[in-house]
Amino acid sequence: MIFSDILFDLARRNLQLHSLRSLLAVIGIVIGVLAITSMGILGASLQASVTDQFSDSVNILTVSSDSRGGYDKITDRQLKEITTAAGQSNVFALNTEYDRITVGSEMGFVGITALKPEYMSDLLELSSGRFPKAAEGVAVGQTLADEYDLKVGSRITIGKDDKEKRVRVLGILKNTGFGGVISTDYSIISSERWYFSVYGDTKEYDQVAVQVRDMDDIDSVKESIETHLNRNRKKVVTIMDSRDFLQAVNGVLGTISLFIMAIGGISLLVAGVSIFNVMLMSVNERVKEIGILRSIGTQKQEIRMMFLYEALILGFTGSIVGGLLSFLGGGAIVYLMLNDLSCLFAPSTMVYVLYGVIIGTTVSVLSGVYPAYKAAELNPIDALSAE
């Protein structure tokens, strides 16, 4: 490749000579890069934040009845089969009912999940109080507690009309976000005893959670349950581990962030068009100069390089500024949406800044290709006689 820095100087000085025009073209690239990079940062931060929330429950499989099979719940027999198939893993059967609650004058509708008291400490975490041991009370999620101003010792009325039951809050659970097997943030956890006394014991369960002791066994346990229950190619249960869910959520988030980046990309495309325009103007203004340069021995490819340098300077400057600003822009959006900036400087986020700079610079240089070609192909005599 030819690199004579006098051509680079010529490109730089020409841009300086038309500083306002150059600045406007750079601003276009800044906006374009800022748009795609900020969107990329947002997408990456969302994914990082979701992944972070899931990592706690990654050793848990959830088994539920495959609704296409015609069964709504896991039967007692199936539970036993799952327990056998799961080997050494802990198996928890869960039932969830939705009911009305009344706290003082406030009313609402929440999920009530029943669990054996001895399993509660394995699956859930308290922020205050204790777990119910029998039918003496319930534990509630943090979000629910905040909303109804519940504290350890508060009383809740569950159900309506003649089925009303008053229970005491014994414990408040830590928030788990997306993470838990059962989403407990906005729900009530009761013992099976209490639950069956209110909703009856049907010997059927909505969901079975299998806590694998060793992370490495998660696939073999999953397969074992699969072969035990889904015999004869009949799908009776669906087994999900949080990785599947995480993958699904991340897949969706990835698609969304790609889509919003594409929208940001439109502004970069517009910026590319403006670079193209600036470069064409530059070529048209400098026809005479191109003629002189050619007549005194400048090769076509050197003329091309000179104009590509212009596009490169515009694009690189704009991309670097845009990349730096996207920390602010992306940071602001992430902060507004996630209230947490810890993901902003993660490598998976930073890589979008790098992509933004590379894409921005590439778009500019590509926009300069045709004008540079046009400049190089001018006939020296015609160019010299231009005024």
Partner: protein
């Protein structure tokens, strides 16, 4: 020992095809210029003298005929080779100086060296040439627009000389200068010619043509 022909044109014809009919700018023109000669080309406007200079300067290729520069035929050369030939063998001096406005006087002279060697000059040759044509000190850091016409033409002559070409092609070198500046520029060209450089100059000024050893008159694309 007879001197070598540094420029040789054999039956050169240049036709510009135009919608209103072809224009014959050069008509079977043959010409030889030997090394160290100072030749003036004269003729009315439209006579073909600028076309002839462009042909000698390898800025254009003839429709038919052969052109030899320094005994090399140019007819088989591609654009890259013709550009190299212009860079290394020919120095151009134009009527309107044609300096690069974005470069300083020094950089204008340095430029052909940079495109030849692909690096900035360290030999000091541009300063030396500028001193020889009468520019030195802070003056060489000025942009062309900050210099007088005579000074600009001196810079352009220094630029033409920087790659030590055999041939100096001048297109109305004094056309944009007053008479006093003109004669000092002509003295400079004469001096360069006396040092052995071949000078071919297009002019319509009889007084300027008197500096040359030989005057060629052109009319309708032919030597008369």
């Amino acid at each position: 020992m007879s001197k070598k022909p540094v420029i040789k044109l054999d039956d050169v014809t240049k036709i510009y095809p135009l919608p209103a009919g072809d224009v014959v700018a050069l008509d079977n023109l043959s010409l030889e210029v030997t090394e160290g000669e100072f030749v003036a080309i004269m003729g009315a406007s439209g006579s073909g003298k600028s076309t002839l200079l462009n042909q000698i300067g390898c800025l254009d290729v003839p429709t038919s005929g052969e052109i030899y520069i320094d005994e090399r035929s140019t007819s088989e050369m591609n654009d890259y080779e013709l550009t190299e030939l212009r860079r290394d063998k020919i120095g151009f001096v134009f009527q309107k100086f044609n300096l690069i406005p974005l470069l300083t006087a020094y950089e204008n002279v340095e430029y052909p060296l940079v495109v030849k060697h692909k690096k900035r000059d360290t030999s000091g040759r541009p300063e030396e040439l500028l001193r020889r044509v009468g520019l030195e000190g802070a003056m060489i850091t000025h942009k062309p627009t900050e210099l007088s016409g005579g000074q600009q033409q001196r810079v352009s002559i220094a630029r033409a000389l920087v790659n030590d070409p055999k041939i100096l092609l001048c297109d109305e070198p004094t056309g944009a200068l007053d008479s006093q500046t003109s004669s000092s520029i002509m003295d400079l060209l004469t001096e360069l010619n006396e040092q052995g450089r071949t000078v071919v100059m297009v002019t319509h000024d009889l007084h300027v043509a008197e500096y040359a050893h030989r005057t060629i008159r052109i009319s309708d694309g032919k030597i008369v």
